[in-house]
Symmetry: C2
Amino acid sequence: MAKITSREKDYSQWYVDLVKEAGLAENSAVRGCMVIKPYGYAIWEKMQAQLDKMFKETGHENAYFPLFIPKSYLSKEADHVEGFAKECAVVTHYRLKNDPDGKGVVVDPDARLEEELIVRPTSETIIWNTYKGWIQSYRDLPIKCNQWANVVRWEMRTRLFLRTAEFLWQEGHTAHATKQEAIDETVQMINVYGEFAEKYMAVPVVKGVKSASERFAGALDTYTIEALMQDGKALQSGTSHFLGQNFAKAFDVQFANKEGKLDYVWASSWGVSTRLMGALIMAHSDDHGLVLPPKLAPYQVVIVPIYRNEEQLAAVREKVDVIMEKLRAKGISVRFDDSDAKKPGWKFAEYELKGVPVRLGMGPRDCENGTVEVARRDTLTKEVVELDGVDAYIEDLLEKIQDNIFQKALDFRAEKTTEVNSWEEFKTVLEEKGGFLSAHWDGTEETEEAIKNETKATVRCIPLDAKEEEGVCVYSGKPSTKRVLFAKAY
Amino acid sequence: MAKITSREKDYSQWYVDLVKEAGLAENSAVRGCMVIKPYGYAIWEKMQAQLDKMFKETGHENAYFPLFIPKSYLSKEADHVEGFAKECAVVTHYRLKNDPDGKGVVVDPDARLEEELIVRPTSETIIWNTYKGWIQSYRDLPIKCNQWANVVRWEMRTRLFLRTAEFLWQEGHTAHATKQEAIDETVQMINVYGEFAEKYMAVPVVKGVKSASERFAGALDTYTIEALMQDGKALQSGTSHFLGQNFAKAFDVQFANKEGKLDYVWASSWGVSTRLMGALIMAHSDDHGLVLPPKLAPYQVVIVPIYRNEEQLAAVREKVDVIMEKLRAKGISVRFDDSDAKKPGWKFAEYELKGVPVRLGMGPRDCENGTVEVARRDTLTKEVVELDGVDAYIEDLLEKIQDNIFQKALDFRAEKTTEVNSWEEFKTVLEEKGGFLSAHWDGTEETEEAIKNETKATVRCIPLDAKEEEGVCVYSGKPSTKRVLFAKAY
């Protein structure tokens, strides 16, 4: 059986064990790069499908831009290069040759690139260089492209899904004729992310704006969704950037407006990544394994037969066929595990580990009685249910589970969000309770930096729904007009 | 208006013009890497969705493996390294720094990787290195993974979709306990590709086996689907490889069989790429633009209103709303282009260029008469049809178009496939008519090479359905037992 360290004993190890034992991902032979295993990838595909639908419903189209970025492009936007040049994979050659000294292959020194290529850490530069050819007048705007792609950032300390050198993501890049339109797009997309996190992942998020120091390199404003994990640490789960005219200026992308005057194009970019997998895993799961929200589970229902001989199995199968047909007619995904190699007890534990929302167990007595045992993953409770109408029962149950998982996470967050009003209180609550600290801050980078150095807590965001209120900064005592959220973060 | 060179004048330029003017793709600032534009990507997404469905129906799961491959992995399979080391992107450093001499950034010499990383040209090596950790016994087999990914091969001469340095593809990698199972998988997948090409792309293909010289580097057998383009050249459109135990041996992947004895695992791999876009474009399109099979068209029907004032537009819109609802209820994708910026004539030409299978034109007279003008892209014919029942009419028409496009390509191929029986005939037919030459070949690499050198024609494949018949090689006069297909190829 799978061995998972308990959360209480070692939260970090619990996460690592869970990712491994549930077959979600593993480290590869290439430092910092992960292998996403089929069960993990199936969850990611569910996320992709839903996000893609939401992007298209808001008027976006998919496209694909090159993996490589010429080195000089990175330098064209001053802040951008500072943010991304530090950690990138650099392609310098385009050929290998047989090692003249013996076995294996070596880089062919004659095949050196004139200009090095960077494996994209994000695609603003290559995309804005492309948009230059697409945009002449206001009639060519807006452009609303998204791409699903892999990106590489040479992180030194990596953790599966949360921080890896290569990760999968989507990046939206839009071009607009007016500042307001670009801002509206930026806000629209953080709302799309928020809706996805809450309705599909069942993860409550705070929507807000980043402080200047946490902004995307090259953005005028970065919007974020911040989620709280069970260890009381925050996880930035998606960001949407208002880029102003920075990239248009860097790549000289101008358009003729309705009056025929030239102006630089306004931009947004926004992305979520396989990091969402980390959020999903950490927000809901327990010491038994994964807990998946029904809307993202690769299969929502698993049926395990209990039998001693072929005759009993045949009787169970007959009932199960009917159930499966009815569930599928309702759009519910279901798997019947009649493999002979494992016992029911093993299977029960396995599907608990994999977080399948609903498990049905069916044996000879159930066949006789016209019943089935229904187990909920989220509460670990079981009930015996009449076969007649079990499809409607399960349809309803899946909704209940989705709601319950979200409510549980919401209650947890409420419990772990504390208004603090003094520096002593800040430190004590952070140390003893963790979670989000809602506190007044003077808005300066110096204070932010000092707080970070003393406590490791950072400004996660200035919530969009923050009330205007008079206050004084918990650290400096200077005046402040609204509370912001602090937390230790992944 | 778009200007497209005619096929007769310059087939190559026609293709380039078409890809550009229809908004499918363009060259990027990075040599050999393309930008796939939204309309082109929408077609690729349709292909992906259908292929993905077919892979899952045949028991495959998606996963994701690293972009980078340690240099030493490439050398582990002797043939593989010969085939792929020659043209690859090599990552040697992981950081840039500010240029000490002035502006911009330079590669940080202190950030040199201990072992260089290759951007994957194909993933057999990294995947088999991973499978080693997944496989202990026959109970762990088969493994049937597919990944959708980007790969890089440093091609010197590139053409959009047909041959690019970076391209998108899927690669299936399966592991089996027996040789026969691996061969069955290999054959199954070439059949899946064949079905996809013919039923969805409407491109007839010959299924066959590659000659030894055209085999995938590291395979024991390569199966292929070969399509014929309008210029009489063949396009290899998908391949499926029986890898034997080569990669299992290179990465030491053994399993305990049912008898408890260790044996190496048997393998297949198979892939299709954005090259299919090239096949789709070249197989059907004409001098007016793209011709898309309805099953892969981003939208199958476009409706263009014809009006002089708002009142007329409102009347048209009322009718159109009803049509659109009925079409969508039948699962037909439809777009209503009521943009004011362009005239109907411009729109007609634009949708012809974009290959939309069915175009409806509707004006005030149609509103009065209860009719609509229906134009077919494939035949460029028009008909006036009663509004009543037009949805069923269009549903039927889309099927007819799909069939007609396929039949046209099939007739073309039949016309362009010639049995030749002497070397003179071979050269004359190749020169004057082109297409597939069905000829006896002695099976030796020397003859294949000589024919290629003299004529540029290569053995495209040994068709799976080739008849056994006595004959003599067209080139060497040596005995042969079946005809193979020769052609010039992309």
